[in-house]
């Protein structure tokens, strides 16, 4: 198991600077050769929605920025399935959404250009347990 830094991004993209702070920390770490893995958890999954139109509030599109992660050698990207499930149900009004993951991923940008792994709670625990360091934003 190689040593890696796990960055956990838990905030929605525009309400605060947390999403950008997580992104910039990841770039800073990969820049010095540290292996970085990136996890979207909690409201952080909203960063992946493809239907973001932040131009109206003079911000840059976070989903577009995230697509650059593989260009900076950050290729191990994870999404917490429970976080997606809870938020999809809240947005769609559907309880027990059967195919929430598929439907959500139709709405998010990672399906084509950014490959991410959907991880369950057990896989999350392993991901965190094996990390050399964790930074949470």
């Amino acid at each position: 198991m190689s040593a890696y830094l796990l960055i956990i991004s838990t905030h929605a993209p525009y309400h605060s600077s947390f999403a950008m702070d997580a992104y910039e920390a990841a770039l800073g770490a990969t820049n010095v050769g540290l292996e970085v893995r990136f996890l979207f958890q909690g409201n952080g999954v909203f960063q992946l929605l493809s239907a973001q139109t932040p131009a109206g509030i003079q911000h840059k599109n976070m989903a577009k920025k995230l697509k650059a992660l593989p260009l900076f050698d950050i290729e191990d990207i994870y999404v917490c399935s429970k976080s997606v499930a809870l938020r999809f149900e809240a947005i769609s009004g559907q309880n027990h959404a059967q195919n929430y993951t598929n439907e959500f991923f139709e709405k998010i940008s990672i399906s084509d250009e950014l490959e991410a792994q959907i991880v369950n709670e057990q896989e999350l625990n392993i991901l965190m347990a094996n990390a050399s360091h964790i930074l949470r934003f």
């Binding site: 040593a3 830094l5 600077s17 947390f18 702070d21 910039e24 920390a25 800073g28 770490a29 820049n31 010095v32 050769g33 540290l34 292996e35 050399s132 360091h133 964790i134 930074l135 949470r136 934003f137």
Partner: protein, 136 residues
């Protein structure tokens, strides 16, 4: 002996985050451990402002960190970009004549923190030399 790198992310006064970080550092050193560096990111950069002006019975974190550095010679690094975005500037930065960055703090790039952790990764076999990153 354990080596630590400390990552401070919150503004003083708003939260007890930085106070906890400082107390952790002091306790670790007292217990014979080593603090390699303290790094200030996000709102943590406000810890470095000489403009902090508190009542005499309140804790001035800029002074407390400066005293800590004087006593223990631990580098206090802060992210220069995070600092500039929050109005913390060094004298030579962007030709600004005034500085509110306390002398004890060093403006650096984020890589300064991650280089330490990377060095760590290379020496992983030697468990005693590994640095633990603690985020406050």
């Amino acid at each position: 002996m354990q080596r630590f790198a400390i990552f401070v992310t919150k503004s003083p006064y708003d939260s007890r985050n930085a106070e906890s970080a400082l107390r952790f550092c002091e306790a670790a050193i007292t217990a014979g451990h080593r603090i390699e560096q303290v790094f200030f990111y996000q709102s943590g950069v406000h810890n470095s402002s000489t403009f902090l002006d508190l009542n005499t019975d309140e804790i001035n974190m800029c002074k407390r960190w400066s005293e800590f550095k004087l006593a223990n010679d631990v580098p206090l690094n802060l992210c220069v970009t995070a600092a500039a975005r929050r109005g913390i500037v060094a004298e030579d930065q962007k030709s600004k004549p005034d500085s509110n960055l306390a002398a004890a703090f060093t403006p650096v790039g984020m890589s300064e923190y991650f280089s330490a952790l990377n060095e760590n990764a290379k020496n992983e076999k030697d468990a005693a030399s590994t640095i633990k990153s603690i985020q406050f």
